[in-house]
């Protein structure tokens, strides 16, 4: 292959370029008319809200998805080959949030997996050398042994191995490395090493596509910033043309309606404490309690624990204490073979049926009334649940839980991939339900939602770092609580 010998920086052709690329999944347009290019020596920061199309763009670049319209051109592309082969030949590597290592293999064996035409003689020595070199280069002073089994490493170490393998010298040199939230499980010092390496790598002629929510990191490494919104590239300029607030504006950040929330919060009377967990998490009757903090710091686990502790595995009940609203729909919520009707009535079967048989009339009545109340957009409730859009599926899951008379509702980041209109409707519904005496435990990764709460617990490394009540609930306080702790732990 010609590309193994060439130095990426010596070429003028972009590593990858997209020309009005479209990507649609059924009716959903995840990417619209995306035109961009990444040249050697660049570090491109990619920002956008959840669902803006960042992952789709990244997957088109690395060839895992082939655009449904427009074109993608990789350097040295051969028309006879597939996009993913061309991407691989162009030296495009990606590190995604979901771990793509084999936990049953050692670190060096995992390098072997990605280096699929490694010479067979003495391959262990070669692999060991390459992976050690890469780790030393990116994370100097690391303590990862190449013979360690990946499953025995910590999450941070696994993330480091994955990043190092992406930067490692393999069958071809890396020309473009796509990093999707690479620092999510790394502590600040290690993250700094990574950022330093990205700068070195780009200076030497490599290119990086850096996806992150952390503005500080973006400004530290990016030479150019691409902003996405609703599947479109809305801005693409050198990094120095932006400020933090201009980025936020371009992403389409909507300022929440503070006044209204505050009024509700003040007016609503709160009852006695209805639940308290061992870790101090508690809620009063009629209260909306938020769980905040950086993603993955134990909020979801705390919620699941509360749910499991208060729902019986071995007996049936007509009066459940807790109901659950899933955010990860396919993992925790949706029954993919069922209709909308059956999905919606699952939790409440026991409540509206008098005997062991499903009371069909009551079921239809309940589902109809919730369809109208929460606005599920379908003309036939017997259509499969998967025929609905993500936001409408989420409404079904909300209705499934809220239809129950359970006094406590646990919500695990339920607004992922939900459009703004739906969100507003749901916020209002939560306020109404709370006014009727229901308590909510609400984990959310979005600050706007946390600001709707009466009380907020900020989590860090599985523990409650701060408890904010009423007026104390501000974006600054939440961020300070989650970050102050971050530094204290080091």
């Amino acid at each position: 292959m010609p590309d193994t010998q060439t130095i990426p920086g010596a070429l003028d052709a972009p590593v990858v370029s997209l020309d009005a690329a479209d990507m649609s999944f059924g009716l959903v347009h995840a990417l619209r008319q995306a035109t961009m290019a990444v040249a050697a020596g660049e570090c491109v920061g990619l920002v956008g809200h959840n669902g803006a199309g960042k992952s789709t763009l990244a997957n088109v670049i690395n060839g895992r998805l082939s655009p449904t319209g427009g074109g993608v051109t990789h350097r040295y592309a051969n028309i006879a080959m597939t996009n993913s082969e061309n991407a691989r030949n162009a030296g495009i590597r990606s590190v995604f949030q979901e771990l793509s290592l084999c936990p049953n293999l050692t670190v060096l064996e995992n390098l072997r997996i990605t280096y699929w035409n490694m010479s067979r003689r003495n391959w262990r020595r070669t692999a060991k050398q390459k992976v050690t070199d890469a780790l030393d280069l990116v994370f100097p002073g690391h303590d990862i042994r190449p013979h360690a089994t990946v499953g025995a490493l910590t999450i941070a170490q696994r993330q480091m191995v994955e990043i190092a393998i992406a930067f490692a010298d393999r069958d071809s040199e890396p020309s473009l490395v796509i990093l999707d939230e690479p620092t999510s499980s790394l502590d600040a010092a290690i993250a700094q090493q990574l950022l330093a390496h990205i700068n070195r790598f780009c200076a030497a002629g490599g290119a990086v596509l850096f996806i992150s929510h952390m503005m500080g990191e973006i400004f530290e490494v990016a030479t150019r910033i691409i902003i996405m919104k609703d599947g479109q590239i809305v801005d693409d300029q050198p990094a120095r043309a932006f400020t933090r607030s201009s980025i936020v504006d371009a992403m389409g950040h909507v300022a929440p309606d503070h006044d209204e929330a505050v009024v509700d919060r003040a007016n609503r009377p709160l009852g006695n404490e209805v639940i308290r967990a061992e870790n101090g998490l508690s809620a009063r009757k009629g209260e909306i309690v938020g769980l905040a903090g950086l993603a993955g710091h134990g909020q979801a686990e705390a919620l699941a624990q509360i749910y499991f502790d208060h729902s019986p595995l071995w007996k049936t009940t007509k009066t459940p204490e807790v109901v659950f609203v899933a955010g990860d729909r396919s993992r925790d919520g949706v029954m993919p073979l069922w209709s909308i009707l059956r999905n919606l009535s699952l939790t409440t079967l026991n409540e509206f049926s008098r005997r062991a048989m499903v009371d069909h009339g009551a079921e239809v009545g309940l589902v109809q009334s919730w369809k109208e109340r929460i606005g599920i957009r379908t003309d036939n409730l017997r259509n499969p649940i998967l025929s609905l859009s993500g936001g409408n599926q989420q409404k079904v899951l909300f209705a499934r839980a809220l239809a129950s008379a359970a006094p406590i509702v646990v919500m695990d980041d339920p607004m992922r991939g939900v459009d703004v209109g739906t969100k507003k409707e749901v916020y209002q519904m939560l306020q109404d339900e709370a006014a009727r005496g229901r308590s909510f435990l609400w984990y959310s990764t979005e600050t706007d939602e946390i600001l709707e709460c009466d009380r907020v617990f900020v989590f860090r490394t599985g523990r409650i770092a701060a408890e904010l009540i009423g007026e104390e609930i501000t974006e600054e306080n939440i961020l300070r609580a989650s970050f102050e702790m971050q530094e204290a732990a080091e």
């Binding site: 895992r64 993913s84 082969e85 691989r88 771990l99 793509s100 290592l101 084999c102 936990p103 049953n104 293999l105 064996e109 072997r112 997996i113 990605t114 699929w116 490694m118 067979r120 391959w123 262990r124 013979h147 360690a148 089994t149 499953g151 025995a152």
Partner: protein, 308 residues
């Protein structure tokens, strides 16, 4: 590496305890001939266990391995003995058939349990066709090989160790083995890295077929005859052996040495039960009980490992 050693500790320990108990009950077993007798039948069991291990390595379970070994034994005792060329061709085809099955399971996303259960009837039917009643004869070289008298240590002890070593090199050291284990560890990652998961699963099944064939041949070498039901109990024995040897049902975590030690332990357990003068009625039940016991002890081990 240490986790790997921990994994091997339980099987080694159980083999040692059982061996001690057998020697205590029957001191005469502590000799060249005694050991040979004790472990004689372990060779085909060990090979079948390795075959099962290949399947468990890629997160499947093979419920047809017993029937397949029986089929191979029948082919060996008839065709290989009478017309070697045809015999070996049949065995080769059987291995290819196994590989094709692996490819089919991957391509269509089939549940391996149901497919292999169905295949167990196919292999069983073929065995009945070939050898409707017990009989046949072992090829001379095979018979000679199985009764070969090695110096100092009996062949029944040496061969399983050689098997374990060869498979260890193949699976744990070579890049092929690493890639096959990768399929069990993270199928999506393998796909993304550009491997053909269909080829990989076919490869794992093909290896299982190869070791199944070897198991059938060794079995005929030992028993000098075959019948269609000769190895049906190997299905459970092989699963038990892999698990006893520290393997896990999902995640591609397996150990060739562990699997062979597991097979030896289970073979020894059968002798142990007969030394105890346990009624043969209970032999089958005892095997089930041993499997349950091992899984229970393993659970305790794992819990300790987690808390420690």
């Amino acid at each position: 590496m240490t986790a790997e050693r921990m994994r091997l500790l339980l099987p080694v320990l159980s083999l040692a305890v059982l061996l001690g108990a057998v020697f205590y009950l029957q001191p005469r077993a502590m000799s060249y001939f005694g050991l040979n007798l004790l472990f004689n039948l372990a060779i085909p069991v060990a090979l079948a266990t390795i075959a099962q291990m290949m399947i468990i390595m890629v997160n499947d379970i093979d419920l047809s391995i017993g029937a397949f070994v029986s089929f191979c034994a029948c082919v060996t005792a008839t065709f290989v003995h009478d017309t070697p060329l045809i015999g070996y061709s049949i065995l080769l085809l059987a291995i290819l058939g196994y590989a094709a099955l692996g490819a089919l399971i991957q391509l269509r996303g089939l549940p391996a349990i149901v497919v292999t259960l169905g295949m167990s009837f196919v292999w069983g039917g073929l065995a009945v066709l070939i050898l409707p009643s017990p009989g046949g004869a072992s090829p001379e070289w095979l018979k000679a090989l199985m009764v070969f008298k090695t110096p100092l240590v009996p062949i029944a002890v040496i061969v399983p160790l050689i098997i374990a070593f060869v498979v260890h090199v193949l699976i744990k050291r070579s890049w092929v083995g690493v890639v096959l284990q990768g399929l069990g560890g993270n199928e999506r990652a393998m796909e993304r890295a550009g491997w053909s998961v269909v080829q990989l699963r076919a490869g794992a099944y093909g290896l299982a077929g190869l070791f199944g064939v070897l198991a059938g041949m060794c079995l005929v070498g030992l028993t000098t005859a075959a019948d269609a039901n000769i190895a049906l109990r190997y299905t459970l024995l092989s699963i038990a052996g892999v698990i006893l040897g520290g393997g896990e049902f999902v995640g591609g975590r397996i150990s060739p040495f562990g699997a062979v030690i597991g097979a030896l332990t289970l073979t020894l357990a059968a002798s142990f039960l007969s030394f105890l003068r346990l009624s043969p009625d209970w032999q089958i039940g005892a095997q089930g009980a041993i499997l349950i016991l091992v899984l229970a002890v393993r659970l305790l081990f794992v819990r300790k490992g987690v808390t420690a």
